[in-house]
């Protein structure tokens, strides 16, 4: 007969005020197999744990049951306690009599009865437990960062500085992300390029960082510590080693139809181009869809003019396969498509622009060299209307906008308004707002400066519609404070459009089995306590891919993600979870159903010689890779031949619990 010990915790008054803990301890003492049963004020305290340890040793216990809070809270604690007393940590069961009993019941008799029943179930289970030993798996000391915006760059630099190798995979031809497109940045108004470019260069030159630009992750397999990624390095049609970035080809290219992505399509570029002057790597790339050579087989002007001989029309995509211990998602965001906002005449007038387009129009490296000119006629605008919350805080439907607040637009709109007033004091600036949200260090002061020092006209209310009237944009909105409808004849309208995750985020999430919310932002393992980790082990989150953020927040989060990555890569091996699935070869008929439901790809099949009472011979049977299995149990409920079982949660154990409850 096994010897089981029972420990009932009061949790101060949390449990004891609703559950008669003495009665529970007494009732459970008479269960078969129980040789010791007691209660104590705080089982998790040092004294409580010592009580458990001493009892395990004195009574030579084979298993223990703790009636306490949820196992999510202290299962790990009590397992360690058991181990310290020489008991296998998987011989510990927890009956949750706090969250499932005292916190949800009022009546003491009822609560006490339920606590006893849950205790009995745990005793029945622990008697069927078997000691389990967790396996270990090695850690590849290299990290993969997906996305080379400020988030990805910062995480990569921090991990690389700690001495680990990092690969940055960036889908566009240069790193830098959205920040590279910005003009000046709130709240200090330093120029984005001046603070970002040095980091881009540092990432490029760092001995531990390997940049894979114009590349995309195609597939990922494996698990924490040993991921395998397949990366497609798209053909640039330019030899990256030979190209010196002189830019001669970009000037000579006769095709000028390609929309300049960096300038938000406000102007065009050649088919061979370098995204912007400070691009990293500073190498040309050919956009085949606009290249005359790829369409007609002729031209080749770039090739003739390149003194480095770098143009390679026959270059092919390259597939790179590498192993990583950790993966960081830093895929960032894009502004939503403003064309859904017909009422703001975005499609009708070139002078209605999004805020990101406005950044380019104000930027010295932009299409107008930093002089603010109307895109329609190149004239200087004298009256500008900014509209906040375009497509944010909108619960209508997904095509019209996002339910969340995009968080950054109040601040960048104040920035835009202020910069315009500073550069062009003759220009009137109005901002329509619902609320001005400025919770950040020096943020509200910044916004007040726009109002008080720069005379920006903030109007509380929303714009209902914008109509094109000749050269003017007629803006009709409400002023809720004066309770009037206002009409402004503006020269330009700027839409503070909501931001949304990069469109590739969903496929990356699926590839990594990293969970996402309904808006396609990546979900953190715990919203407060584990904000930079995905619930999937080994996957970390950095930047706007997890939720709207400004640069200061992005950089802090990027550093936090790096510290988690460093913590993981510093280990030589990882201890796994022994509660994994296992197939009974005698019962398995190789039907493949478990493989199809396993979200982690942990199941494979082998032809195997099997010898049992009913079957002898070779058959196809399922094999679980214990290092990959997360113990979710999907396979066990799917298996039609009841061959799959979960160690620590076997059908046998669960049935024993149910029997004990129904007794």
């Amino acid at each position: 007969m096994q010897k089981i010990g029972v420990f009932v915790c009061w949790c101060g008054s949390n449990i004891a005020a609703t559950v008669d803990v003495k009665a529970v301890a007494n009732a459970l003492r008479s269960e078969p197999g129980v040789v010791f049963s007691t209660e104590y004020q705080y089982m998790c305290s040092e004294n409580g744990q010592n009580l458990i340890k001493d009892t395990i040793r004195d009574y030579k216990l084979d298993g223990i049951v703790i009636c306490s809070c949820s196992p999510r809270m202290h299962e790990a604690t009590f397992r360690k306690t058991a181990l310290a007393a020489g008991l296998n940590p998987y011989m510990v069961e927890i009956a949750n009599i706090r969250e499932q009993v005292s916190w949800i019941h009022k009546d003491m008799t009822e609560a006490t009865d339920k606590a006893i029943v849950l205790g009995r179930a745990a005793i029945a289970k622990v008697k069927k437990n078997a000691p389990l030993t967790a396996g270990t798996s090695p850690v590849t000391k290299r990290a993969l960062v997906i996305g080379g915006g400020i988030a990805g760059i910062q995480t990569a630099l921090d991990v690389a500085d700690a001495g680990y190798e990092v690969d940055i995979v960036e889908k566009s031809p240069t790193i830098g992300g959205r920040m590279a497109q910005l003009d000046k940045t709130f709240p200090t108004l330093d120029c984005a390029a001046c603070i970002l470019t040095p980091k881009m260069v540092e990432a490029n030159q760092h001995e531990n960082i390997n940049l894979l630009t114009y590349s995309e992750v195609e597939s990922v397999s494996g698990f924490v510590g040993s991921f395998k990624a397949k990366i497609r390095k798209k053909a640039r049609f330019v030899d990256e080693v030979k190209c010196t970035g002189c830019g001669v080809c970009t000037e000579k290219c006769p095709s000028r139809k390609g929309l300049n992505e960096f300038n938000m399509g406000l102007n065009t570029r050649g088919a061979v181009y370098i995204p912007f002057a400070q691009a990293v790597p500073n190498k040309a790339v050919i956009d085949a869809s606009n290249c005359i050579h790829f369409r007609t087989g002729k031209c080749g002007i770039c090739e003739k003019n390149c003194s480095a001989g770098a143009i390679k029309f026959d270059q092919q995509d390259e597939i790179i396969e590498r192993d990583y211990g950790a993966i960081v998602v830093a895929t960032g965001f894009k502004p939503i498509d403003a064309s859904a906002f017909d009422e703001y005449a975005y499609n009708q007038s070139k002078d209605v622009v999004t805020s990101l387009e406005f950044e380019r129009l104000m930027n010295a490296a932009g299409p107008t060299k930093g002089t603010l000119l109307r895109p329609s006629d190149g004239e200087h605008p004298h009256e500008i209307v900014f509209i906040q919350c375009v497509g944010s805080r909108c619960s209508r439907d997904a095509s019209k906008g996002k339910e969340y607040c995009s968080k950054i637009c109040c601040m960048y709109t104040a920035k835009h308004a202020m910069l315009v007033r500073e550069k062009y004091p003759d220009t009137k600036v109005h901002v329509f707002y619902i609320d001005v949200r400025t919770p950040g260090k020096n943020f509200d002061e910044f916004y007040r400066r726009a109002v008080e020092q720069y005379g920006v006209d903030y109007i509380k209310g929303m714009v209902g519609k914008v109509t094109v009237e000749g050269k003017k944009l007629r803006v009709q909105g409400s002023d809720l404070i004066s309770n009037e409808q206002v009409h402004i004849d503006a020269d330009m309208v700027v839409l503070a459009t909501a931001i949304e995750p990069d469109p590739t985020a969903r496929s990356i999430g699926t590839m990594l089995t990293a969970s996402m919310d309904t808006n396609d932002f990546f979900t953190e393992a715990h919203p407060k306590l584990r904000p930079v980790e995905s619930p999937t082990a080994g996957i970390f989150l950095s930047g706007v891919c997890q939720g709207p953020k400004d640069i200061p927040e992005t950089v802090s989060q990027a550093g936090a993600a790096a510290s988690k990555v460093i913590g993981l890569l510093s280990k030589n091996e990882l201890v796994g979870n022994p509660c994994v699935a296992h197939a009974n070869e005698l019962l398995c008929n190789g039907c493949s159903q478990c493989e199809r439901v396993c979200p982690y790809g942990a199941i494979t099949y082998v032809e195997k010689e099997v010898r049992g009472p009913e079957f002898r011979g070779t058959k196809r049977v399922a094999v679980v890779n214990e290092a990959v299995c997360q113990g979710c149990g999907a396979c066990t409920v799917t298996c039609p031949s009841t061959a799959m079982d979960l160690k620590g949660f076997s059908n046998n154990q669960i049935m024993a619990e149910v029997d004990a409850i129904c007794r």
């Binding site: 805080r393 909108c394 209508r396 619902i434 209310g461 929303m462 519609k465 909105g477 809720l480």
Partner: protein, 128 residues
């Protein structure tokens, strides 16, 4: 006079939940009849929420609304202010002897610039 019409009545007739309103004023920014109204679309929503139904029922504003549905179309929170206004009008019509006009009055008011939709909604508004 209309003391017996409650917020609940208006909400039931309209199917609108005024608590969804975030008080952005886009409805009023959009409304083509704004200047004709004593109470504007966003105020309508707020006043229904506050139970000031009497004031609304007595206001001429409810007949100034064109039922163009611009507010309903543009509201970011799907509040549908036009439906509230319609509900208040209905509440008035349902009161005995409170018809704003009879159908015989309509032909005299018609002019060729009036959109058909407005005539339909006028019939609805002022039905006996």
């Amino acid at each position: 006079m209309a003391a017996n019409v409650t917020t609940e009545d208006i909400l039931r007739i309209s199917g609108v939940n005024p608590r969804k309103c975030m008080k952005c004023g886009k409805c009023s920014g959009t409304c083509p009849a704004y200047d004709e109204m004593e109470y504007h679309p966003h105020q309508f929503v707020y006043m229904v929420e506050r139970g000031q139904i009497d004031k609304l029922m007595q206001s001429k504003s409810i007949y100034r609304c064109l039922t163009c549905f611009a507010c309903l179309e543009r509201c970011p929170r799907n509040v549908e202010p036009a439906k509230l206004i319609e509900a208040v009008r209905l509440a008035v019509i349902r009161q005995q002897g409170m018809n704003h006009m009879t159908e015989n009055d309509i032909p005299a008011l018609l002019d060729d610039k009036l959109p058909q939709q407005a005539i339909v909604s006028a019939m609805r508004k002022y039905k006996k």
